[in-house]
């Protein structure tokens, strides 16, 4: 099977400091890949590169049939097949409706109202459409962020700690929404999380990132039941790793 993403020799540096170094990584179409690891491991940087929001310092990212690198950015219509939900949603100072409509309007969607009614129902926020987004609670804001991403029907959904700092009710709700969306659309999902339990619940494959490198990447059961690397074992056990 041809991978959706094929990464080769990828590095990312900020001010001469290397924060990501991935010799090779493939992401298959339709899978849910969870990346776990401590803060500063390069997980969020990798998501920004996968969304082509930033360019790599070196190396190639092949997406579908094209290869992109520091000298070649994907066209906007390719980038619009991918979207990210961030840990801390930055919502526009407008209504919930307008926030969700933003991406649809960029794409000149022909049935915005219907799409928003549908997605608000899915995330359980039907009544909040006219409300100002700044009045939402943390859990509601994150569900709006998820809704504005899902209504775009992305081929690739990148989730950067989407349930960090949320209560168990909202965590369950968001995990359910992600799983239902996957089942309905077969979207490829890359989930960055500190929460190993969440990775275990949702992922097909799990990778541990540490200091900008991928320590281990295997199937979910193998990752949690018989990890090969000592650092993976330590991370799963909740120990401090460097």
């Amino acid at each position: 099977m041809t991978p959706l993403y094929r990464i080769t020799g990828l590095t990312k540096e900020y001010n001469g400091r290397r924060v990501l170094d991935l010799p090779a990584l493939e992401i298959q179409s339709g899978e849910l890949l969870a990346l776990v690891g401590p803060s500063g491991a390069g997980k969020s940087t990798l998501l920004r590169l996968l969304n082509f929001l930033e360019l790599p310092s070196r190396g190639d990212i092949s997406f579908k049939d094209s290869t992109y690198n520091s000298g070649k950015q994907p066209p906007l219509d390719v980038r619009r097949t991918i979207t990210t939900v961030f840990q801390r949603p930055a919502l526009l100072k407008r209504s919930v409706f307008d926030n969700i409509a933003y991406g649809l309007r960029l794409r000149r969607h022909h049935a915005i109202r219907e799409a928003i009614t549908d997605i608000l129902g899915r995330v359980g926020l039907n009544d909040l459409a006219p409300h100002p987004a700044r009045t939402l609670s943390g859990g509601e804001a994150q569900r709006v962020a998820l809704a504005r991403a899902l209504c775009l029907q992305p081929e690739v959904l990148l989730l950067d700690e989407p349930t960090a700092n949320l209560d168990p009710y909202n965590i369950n709700l968001i995990e359910d929404i992600i799983q239902r969306h996957r089942a309905e659309t077969n979207a490829t999902v890359v989930l960055v999380t500190h929460n190993t339990f969440q990775a275990r619940r949702l992922a097909d494959r799990v990778g541990l990132m540490l200091n900008g490198s991928l320590v281990e990447l295997t199937g979910r059961d193998e990752f949690f039941e018989s990890p090969r690397d000592a650092r993976t074992r330590a991370f799963i056990a909740g120990e401090m790793i460097y």
Binding site: L53, T83, T84, F86, A90, G103
Partner: protein, 220 residues
């Protein structure tokens, strides 16, 4: 006086309105670029803008006077290209220079005050660079409006520069502010106070109109 007063009010609004329009057309994009883009000289540009925000108008009047006078710094240029001294055009130029740093500086500050991750997040939703920049500018709209209001406030009440480059010529370059100075110097305090009241009223109405343009933003 009523005909003359109407003429003074009309000229004041015309000169200030035109200067504000020009400074907004240049200052808002300039401020947005200063707030959004990383480029060599950005810090210097910001320092210049912030310095310009506190620049004494009378010095700008002197500067414009020296630029436009017959033997001034721009005397090598064809005379028909430049505004002439003691005309409304010269006053517009002076007021534009006074208000431009305020509009640009406050716009830059407003843009810098927007959540830095918003731009990245709207790009993740499919916005191009320019669409993302517009989204940030739109988020900063209250700050941009304050920038325009600050620019307006700095020139509607300004007297030194317009007196210097306009000359306060009756029926030609006399504005509300210069008329107030003239009537005060003549001891016509009642008239000067009345003109001051008109100036305050106009300023209040103009600000109300600008706030109305913001629609519901203040209520959200």
């Amino acid at each position: 006086m009523s005909g003359e007063l109407a003429e003074i009010i009309a000229l004041s609004l015309r000169v200030t309105g035109l200067a504000l329009l020009i400074s907004s057309l240049i200052g808002i994009p300039l401020g947005a670029i200063a707030g959004l883009k990383r480029f060599i000289g950005r810090r210097l540009l910001m320092a210049l803008l912030y310095t310009g925000m506190g620049f004494p108008p009378v010095v700008i009047g002197l500067f414009v006077y020296l630029l436009l006078s017959r033997n001034g710094w721009l005397s090598f240029m064809p005379a028909d290209v430049l505004p002439k001294l003691f005309t409304p055009s010269a006053m517009v130029l002076a007021q534009t220079i006074i208000s431009l740093p305020l509009v640009a500086g406050f716009t830059a500050a407003a843009v810098l005050g927007v959540d830095p991750s918003l731009r990245l997040q709207v790009r993740a939703l499919g916005a191009s660079e320019s669409q993302a920049a517009w989204a940030v500018l739109n988020e900063a709209r209250m700050g941009v409006l304050v920038a325009v209001i600050a620019g307006f406030g700095s020139i509607i009440s300004e007297v030194g520069a317009v007196m210097m480059v306009g000359g306060n010529i009756a029926g030609h370059t006399r504005l509300l502010t210069t008329a107030i100075v003239l009537e005060t110097s003549k001891g016509n305090f009642d008239l000067a106070l009345a003109l001051g009241g008109v100036l305050l009223g106009l300023s209040f109405l103009a600000n109300l109109a600008m706030l109305a343009l913001q629609g519901k933003s203040l209520d959200e």
